[in-house]
Symmetry: none
């Protein structure tokens, strides 16, 4: 799951970024509105967090530009506690949710999950593939009822596959979902994580199509 954060306050941005990365998101970060618009088009994030109080362009204007360019991913806006006017303007311009500063990171994470679900058309926080159950909120995974402990990357990978069961995704596509800009890997990392997932769950769960990519069996 790829996410774009448009936020000028460096320390706040750092905090959010690390928290989100820990939660398994690939996070891109822009400090200015113009850069945010560019990044949104280049990186095609699944979610955007947009601070309305940017130093260059007004945040609402950034949002309008995005929507005008057919950018469809949900946008969550961050506003100051008392800035009701721009909050409303933001929602009118196509924001999907808002959060007033200051906020708890857990709250942010919860809202993001809700947004993901809303656009994915999914109603529960659980993904099921065969007898593997993935809880996207608690990051818990069970296989045949037994809890399985997955690391961050393993979880992100499994989830990326589970969101589109049956669909084949290439290594490159999967890497895009796991890694932010400047985090790119240059090895067979995906292979290794796939291997570890197969070991922790069961080998037949993830199938490889030689020369094409990986997919999850379309769970019965």
């Amino acid at each position: 799951m790829r996410l774009l954060l448009i936020e000028d306050d460096q320390s706040l941005a750092d905090g959010i970024t690390t928290a989100l990365r820990h939660a398994g998101y690939a996070v891109d970060h822009a400090e200015l509105g113009v850069r945010g618009v560019a990044l949104a088009q280049a990186a095609r994030p699944d979610l955007v967090i947009l601070d309305l109080g940017l130093p260059d362009i007004d945040g609402v204007e950034v949002l309008k530009q995005l929507r005008r360019r057919q950018f469809k991913s949900p946008v969550l806006i961050l506003t100051a506690r008392d800035d009701l006017a721009s909050k409303i303007a933001g929602l009118d311009a196509g924001a999907d949710d808002y959060l007033t500063k200051p906020f708890a990171v857990d709250e942010l994470l919860a809202r993001l999950r809700a947004l993901e679900r809303r656009v994915g058309g999914i109603t529960t926080a659980e993904l099921r593939i065969g007898d593997v159950v993935i809880n996207t909120a608690s990051h818990e995974v069970t296989c045949g009822g037994k809890a399985v402990k997955l690391s961050r990357r393993e979880f992100a990978l499994l989830r990326a596959l589970a969101e589109r069961p049956g669909l084949i995704q290439s290594r490159e596509q999967l890497e895009e979902k796991l890694y932010s800009w400047g985090e790119e890997v240059s090895s067979n990392t995906v292979d290794v994580h796939i291997h570890n997932l197969r070991k922790k769950l069961y080998p037949e769960l993830i199938r490889n199509i030689r020369g094409v990519g990986y997919k999850l069996e379309n769970g019965q």
Copy 2:
């Protein structure tokens, strides 16, 4: 993946077309707006690349006509660098992305992939020829309900044929669709794959026209 290019500049169109073919797309090409609208309805492409500067109808008008006729596939528009007005008009008329000329082919390919991804779940990724069903997303093929395991090249070949049922395609044309630049083969590879496909599916599916090429029977 089937694609329609509406572009009047012959040399540009040729360049784009070959690049796209090598990237695995089945490309139809129209030089005029009217013809583009007709082809879009006849060929049902999964993606459209539309140059806004056409000699007959205005490109934006083409797009409006398409959308008015319930044409749902994503459309990427090509504009001159400075023609901001028609770019915006294009987006408002239902374009999904744009690219300003001149552009690098890689950029175009990247955008197309992004568009595919965006609509990935929406477009039905199934081709049917008689009782052979080809799922391009999961690379699964069934023949009379039974799953058949195809290798990458076999799948690509079957897909190339199935995208144009009834049309005779020469070995050279098929090779072009299977191999990218610098991968050319110098033997009867296509023959062999055809043979294996016939064995795995059924012999009558693929017909040879002596001296011309191969075709799929126009599914009953």
